[in-house]
């Protein structure tokens, strides 16, 4: 039995923030959870799936984030409690439905959990999801620590049911992926019974149809929606998760939220400013509790905003201060706009310390300027110099090798439009710099579809797109449909590595099992593409020459959209992990090393971490520990020095 459903009295466990959110939802009696994988959010659905049977939950990995919200909304419409979860980029995908959902409202409590990634540690951007709450006109909550991450969820469900609308809960990497001790509450015992009531009057929130469509009459739904926000603001005035620590009239008030509240506490403590600085940690960051804020603003002359990514709190609190200027007087503000804190990247205690030391002219020796250089130098002594690259045995490296070669041989200046997955590294040396655009999920194929239609303006080189199997279902199918219908002659490389690999092998509609491991129909991408009207070929990316030939052939075939499915499971996938196909060795006597005729193509260009350059002997070697025995390097060695022997 999972510790997540520990029912022991006074139980407490060390939980990741994401696990705490799950426990909170379980204590709130959640019924349905849906999401699309994305770091740092992925553990939430996985944790729900572990306890789905015991807690009678319906859990799914949805095709994309928009579908996840729709699936969760259906549960809410039927009176159940539901949660949908995604990383910040996913909120962009879901935003169209979210805007309409916020308009129709919800019935059973419904929460949107978004896990933001300040610093873009595992994202292509550090997008800010908090601004969506303002745009969508829905309440936003930000837990400040691990206990709160659990406790705030039942409170959010209650709020959602009180105002009959979806509530957004935002976490960040350092909350989702860090761990802290969490005290458990009781798990409910009620058995859920759902019913979608829809025969009542049009706008009846209890019994009417759930419709976001009152054409030409904004007051019908927008008005009530704004009323809901006013109610939420009122409730937020006494929210138990908005806390203040510090003197009654601090010299400086820090206003903060989320993980930044921890950095603030640490910085104040280290500088010994506890008597002079107050910390107002807000959990309700949209709409803001105006009276609460006014009370705290009135008590201090100076305010420092400590928050990551966009100056959201900073901007909104300044509006409150301006509106209450006559009552609270003129204030001095510090934060991103004053330059006391950086406007991008993650914050940390040190950055807050430096801001405080500037404001108070308190001397603080932060990390010495040469500290990070010293750390890097030290690391370099033990870590091999290596850029970001694909894992040993990764099919993407082999795929990009063939893509590069096909493009170069074709010689017409063709290029690849990149997409989201491990294969973003196609923009880097790891993927031989073949990808020349990179944006959102599925966008590579949409952009390629567009490039394919620019011939009349002189853009007539071959256009390729890469797309993973999960990404194909998530967002690339509409782009492919577009290209086929518009006769855009691009070639989609569908890199089917048998799962949503980058985030941990979550199943997708092409997988034969669902999140619970139950058998489900696996959609056949090859048949889908053919049925859509594309010319389709399938290749094993480990067969470099055949893959290259097929790609060149498709690129030369001018008419319409083509798809080359490159099928080979990820090296870390359950089906390949730990299984060596070949024992790979180097015949040092044949290795040409740096000589004319090779110049270290295996270690310098191919770059599999399983290949090591022996600088003393001037030959390549195999790192037996990390080589997974894919054997592809034997095919790239021009001297036949890399030998592979099938493992019996």
């Amino acid at each position: 039995m999972s510790y997540l459903i520990d029912e022991g009295k006074n139980a407490s466990h060390l939980l990741m923030g994401n696990e705490a959110i799950v426990r909170g939802a379980l204590e709130a009696g959640i019924n349905v959870a849906a999401g699309y994988p994305g770091t740092p959010s992925s553990e939430i659905i996985e944790c729900f799936s572990q306890v789905a049977k015991e807690r009678n939950l319906y859990v799914e990995w949805s095709t994309n984030e928009k579908v996840a919200v729709e699936v969760a909304a259906a549960a809410s419409f039927a009176g159940l409690r539901s949660l949908c979860v995604m990383k910040q980029n996913g909120v962009n995908v879901a935003s169209d439905f979210l805007l309409h959902l916020a308009s129709s409202g919800t019935r059973g409590g419904m929460i949107l959990v978004t896990c933001d990634d300040p610093g873009a540690l595992s994202s292509v951007n550090e997008g800010e999801s908090r601004l969506f709450a303002q745009l969508l006109e829905i309440p936003l909550l930000e837990p400040g620590d691990f206990q709160e991450a659990k406790d705030i969820i039942p409170w959010a469900f209650d709020l959602s049911e009180k105002i009959r609308n979806i509530v957004m809960v935002r976490s960040v990497t350092r909350l989702s992926h860090a761990s802290g001790n969490v005290h458990f509450g009781p798990l409910p015992t009620r058995v859920a019974k759902a019913e979608f009531r829809n025969s009542g009057p049009l706008l009846d929130p209890e019994t009417g149809p759930m419709i976001a469509m009152i054409v030409g009459a904004p007051e019908a739904q927008h008005g009530p929606q704004q009323e809901k926000m006013k109610r939420a603001a009122e409730i937020f005035e006494t929210c138990p998760f908005n806390t203040y620590t510090g003197p009654a009239t601090p010299e400086l008030l820090i206003i903060t939220s989320s993980a930044c509240s921890l950095y603030s506490q640490e910085a104040v403590s280290i500088l010994g400013l506890g008597e002079r600085v107050g910390i107002l940690k807000l959990a309700t960051t949209w709409p803001l509790p105006q009276r609460l804020l006014k009370k705290h603003l009135a008590a201090t002359p100076k305010i420092l905003f400590v928050e990551e990514v966009a100056p959201t709190l900073e901007d909104h609190v300044k509006v409150v201060a301006a509106e209450s200027g006559a009552e609270i007087g003129v204030k001095t503000f510090f934060g991103k706009k004053s330059g006391h804190l950086p406007s991008l990247g993650e914050l940390n205690p040190d950055l807050v310390l430096m801001a405080l030391s500037r404001i108070f002219a308190v001397p603080y020796e932060g990390a010495p300027a040469d500290f990070s250089a010293a750390v890097k130098a030290l690391a370099a002594r033990y870590a091999p110099p290596r850029g970001m690259t694909f894992c040993p045995g990764c099919p993407h490296r082999a795929s990009y090798w063939s893509i590069n070669n096909a493009l170069k041989l074709d010689g017409r200046g063709g290029f690849v439009c990149g997409d989201i997955g491990c294969y973003v590294m196609g923009t880097m040396a790891a993927g031989f710099n073949t990808c020349k655009t990179l944006h959102a999920m599925g966008s590579g194929s949409g952009i390629a579809s567009g490039f394919g239609k620019l011939k009349q303006f002189g853009v007539d080189q071959p256009v390729l797109s890469v797309c993973g199997d999960s990404t194909f279902f998530h967002a690339a199918m509409p782009a492919l449909a577009n290209a086929i219908h518009q006769r855009s002659p691009f070639t989609m490389l569908l890199m089917d590595n048998r799962g949503t690999a980058m985030t941990g092998f979550q199943p997708h509609p092409g997988s034969p099992t669902n999140v619970l491991g139950e058998a489900t129909p696996a959609l056949d991408m090859e048949k889908i593409c053919r049925a859509m009207g594309a010319k389709v070929e399938v290749s094993d990316p480990f067969d470099l020459e055949k893959t290259r030939q097929k790609l060149n052939h498709l690129m030369e075939y001018a008419d319409g959209a083509k798809v080359l499915i490159l099928r080979r499971a990820c090296a870390l996938s359950p089906e390949r992990r730990g299984k060596k196909e070949y024992e790979v060795t180097v015949d040092e006597s044949r290795c040409r090393g740096e000589d004319c005729g090779c110049n270290r193509i295996c270690t310098r260009i191919f770059g599999c971490p399983g290949l090591i350059w022996d600088g003393e002997k001037k030959v390549s070697r195999i790192d037996e520990i990390i080589c997974v025995g894919c054997g592809v390097c034997a095919d790239i060695c021009p001297a036949g020095a890399i030998l592979r022997k099938e493992v019996a």
């Binding site: 590069n404 070669n405 170069k408 041989l409 074709d410 010689g411 031989f432 060149n552 740096e594 004319c596 005729g597 090779c598 110049n599 193509i601 310098r604 260009i605 790239i636 021009p638």
Partner: protein, 381 residues
């Protein structure tokens, strides 16, 4: 001669489309590869010196160095280069009549050389569809499958590099002028590799005014005839001025003026019509489509020619003076045109690593004086 690496070669020759696709840099390493008539540079090689650069006939060519190496004579800019003797030639009685171009001298010499053991393998160019495909032929009879003109550039020297890497020795090669230049550069062991050995035994150079860009030529024909039905392609001697395409059932003709548009820019920089750095050179004899002109240049070439004649694989006759003069006139024209082009574009004696070729002022002047402006000669690959 200054030698650079692959990146410089890619910059100077490949990216500027100066590459003739001869294949000299192919199959030496994993970085260069030929595909449908074009040379591709797949990945950056960081070596400062490479055989690819040293062998390339389009960059830093030193005709004087080559001439001294092959003929022990300085390069003087003569329209036909260095030669020992010039003949009218055709296949002899020991050669059954085969579908070869003109007099069949090239095929006959290769056939003889393989049969006699003068060479143990021949690098020839066959065809797959329209695409010229170089191959190693070790059986004498295999020569006849490669006996027809291709008219498009072929990476023949890739097959030579492959054959050498596979351990073949005493190889014969049928080469265009740019390829003959590349082979001569290979034979000089420019990187001073200690284990180097010269594995060529006979280089037969072809006369060449230009070769067509394969991709453009294929596209041109694809629009006009069913490619799969093409049996043979020929450019008959003047005054025809057409390209003949023999199909299964019919013959189609296309004006040479249209075909010349498919000649790659690189041919315009070429000073060599008669494969001056080959052992022997062979072309059509002006006015006699059934006969060849044969220029014997080196001692080893001379030995093979003499023996082939003695054993009646080829028949030699004296070259009429007016034919030789006409050949010199045509070759001199090409030389002058190519030289002017190099000069106009800064590729004669230019910056190290970017010059096509290096010549002294004296030789340059002589070429410019020798050449006469006139119409193009009808000799082709």
């Amino acid at each position: 001669m200054k030698i650079f690496g692959a990146t410089k070669l890619a910059e100077t020759v490949i990216q500027t489309e100066l590459c003739s696709g001869c294949g000299a840099c192919i199959d030496l390493c994993p970085y260069f590869r030929s595909y449908r008539g074009k040379t591709a540079y797949l990945f950056p090689c960081t070596r400062e010196e490479g055989r690819c650069f040293a062998y390339c006939p389009k960059v830093e060519v030193d005709p004087d160095g080559l001439s001294r190496f092959l003929f022990a004579k300085p390069y003087d800019g003569h329209p036909l280069g260095n030669w020992r003797s010039i003949h009218v030639a055709r296949a002899g009685a020991r050669v059954k009549r085969q579908p070869f171009q003109s007099g069949g001298t090239v095929s006959a010499l290769m056939y003889f050389s393989l049969r006699s053991g003068c060479i143990r393998g021949a690098i020839l160019t066959g065809r797959k569809g329209l695409l010229p495909v170089p191959q190693l032929v070790t059986r004498p009879a295999g020569v006849w499958r490669h006996s027809l003109s291709k008219y498009t550039a072929a990476p023949t020297l890739a097959a030579l590099n492959r054959a050498i890497a596979a351990g073949h020795e005493a190889l014969g090669v049928v080469a265009t002028p740019c390829q003959a230049t590349a082979i001569a550069q290979m034979r000089m062991n420019p990187l001073q590799n200690r284990s180097f050995r010269d594995h060529t035994a006979l280089v037969i150079g072809l006369f060449c005014t230009w070769a067509l860009d394969f991709r453009k030529f294929e596209a041109f024909l694809a629009e006009r005839v069913p490619l799969k039905d093409i049996v043979k392609i020929d450019i008959p001697p003047p005054p025809a001025s057409v390209l003949e395409v023999y199909l299964q059932e019919e013959k189609r003709e296309f004006p040479l003026d249209e075909i010349r548009l498919l000649v790659p820019d690189t041919c315009g920089y070429c000073l060599d019509m008669t494969s001056e750095f080959a052992d022997v050179s062979v072309g059509v004899l002006e006015g006699h489509p059934e006969l060849n002109t044969l220029i014997v240049r080196t001692e080893r070439g001379e030995e093979i020619v003499r023996e082939a004649q003695r054993q009646e694989y080829i028949i030699l006759d004296d070259m009429p003076v007016e034919n030789r003069e006409h050949l010199e006139w045509a070759a001199g024209n090409k030389k002058q045109r190519g030289l002017r082009r190099c000069m106009e574009t800064g590729r004669l004696n230019g910056e190290a690593g970017t010059a096509c070729l290096r010549l002294t002022g004296e030789v340059t002047d002589r070429i410019l004086k020798n050449g006469r402006n006139g119409k193009e000669s009808p000799c082709h690959t």
